[in-house]
């Protein structure tokens, strides 16, 4: 019961953050709303017993990627966004579209919930086993090759970005 309370509070918080992300006019407010969404998602992961995922979410998304976003917004000193006819049309098409996708996903999940299997909420509170061991076994033994290939791919992307951004030496 306590954990469903946690779910309701932080689920509502993440939805509120997402709405605020869409509706805020100023880019820095939008970026901070996205941080709020990510932090509440981290709490939800935690309440499902995925502590490692929660911590990684906070460190990578809230702590690194969104800091970079905020940094860029601060440096460019971007003003409030303009509402044009195009953005109004996008809102007209977007809100019903998002609602339709939401309904479709809910329907699908409810129809197939027996095959999906239910996650027991609060594995942490009931002394569940650490899932870091499970994740590391999966990543570094069973899926070692795809994992390393992805790492190389990211490394290549970083090198490409550095080469593109580097100033020509005079």
């Amino acid at each position: 019961m306590h954990l469903s309370l946690v779910f309701i509070v932080f689920g509502a918080l993440s939805i509120a953050g997402a709405l605020s992300f869409l509706l805020q006019r100023h880019p820095i407010n939008s970026a901070l709303s996205l941080v709020l969404v990510m932090l509440s998602l981290a709490v939800l992961y935690w309440s499902l017993g995925a502590e490692f995922l929660a911590a990684a979410q906070v460190i990578v998304y809230s702590g690194a990627i969104m800091v970079l976003f905020v940094f860029v917004i601060m440096l460019l000193n971007a003003g409030t966004e303009l509402r044009t006819r195009g953005s109004r049309a996008a809102a007209l098409a977007g809100f019903p579209g998002a609602a339709a996708i939401f309904c479709l996903l809910t329907l699908l999940f409810l129809a197939h919930r027996h095959q999906l299997g239910l996650t027991h909420p609060g594995a942490l509170a009931t002394n569940g086993v650490s899932n870091i061991t499970a994740i590391s076994t999966l990543l570094f033994r069973d899926l070692l090759l795809p994992f390393e290939v992805t790492s190389i791919l990211i490394l290549v992307a970083i090198l490409g970005a550095v080469v593109l951004a580097r100033k020509e030496q005079p």
């Binding site: 929660a54 911590a55 800091v67 870091i132």
Partner: protein
Amino acid sequence: MPSLSPLQIFFIGSLVKTAVTISVMLGGVTMTVLLERKLVGRIQNRYGPNRVGPFGLLQTVVDGLKLFLKEDMTPANVYLPLFLLAPVIALGCALISIAVVPFGPPVFWRGVALFQVSDVNVGLLVILGITSIGVYGIALSGWSSNNKYSLLGSVRSTAQMVSYELALGLSLVGVVMRARSLSIAKIVASQSAHGALSWNVLGGLQFFAFFIYLISAYAETNRAPFDLVEAENELVGGYHTEYSSIKFAMFFMAEYANMITVSCVATLLFFGGASSPFGHLLGGPVAQALQGIFWFVLKVFFFLCLYIWVRGTLPRFRYDQLMAFGWKWLLPAAMLNIVLTALVYAWHG
């Protein structure tokens, strides 16, 4: 209290521990400020504060009162919501990360750990995560102040903290490899076998990792010689130029709370936490627990003094030197340390 369920005991215990920890932390902050002023005074061949109370002990209390009672000025063109939010984020993050730090040996009473607010199995990542959220406090304060010096200070600080966070995180991997766990309590337990010889800084072969951690932690907390954030000859006062009264006090307390947390983490990860350097000599559970707290406080005190000593001794880095040092020296050194540690552990099994 036979009528309480384990959940209720856990809840009440956590509340009490949180209250005690926050009070101790805030008391520690005032004492650290005083310690810094007195030690820097001695380094600079003067006395430091010695008039208010015995030995000047009440100086910071009085200073704090002065800050809280001052007029709270809000400049005209600030972006108010974020201007108010920034000090709250800074102080909040600084106080939250102490929650996973065990202050003493693992002693349990009715299933509640007495000297740790919460033993999380990813405790180390929790500290890193909350530290990375703390960047927002500084970034937003500078931007929302609508002042170019504040903005420059906070942009510098954000770049610095994001860069040094990498080296900081990587320097801890060797410790995690030795303990085979991310839980702080288990990391401390892995160093308690033979006193000082099994501490990570000696027996765990993490000597270089310790210095990488220490340097990047100094940069993370924006302390000298990495205090470019508030380089007063270039930036007036850095990110908190426009803040006054209680809001300034919150940034100030956050800085010292972060110093204490960094010292605690250095103690826990590299110097065996609450374990005695001479192994388990004196018997008795109560004596052991008290000894544990004594050693922990002593080690943290040592690291705080080191912080202040470094501040009183070293000149400030230049900004390009700071970035080059972080990316070209500290980060590769941390990676090399991971590879070497992994090789040693693979060799010895």
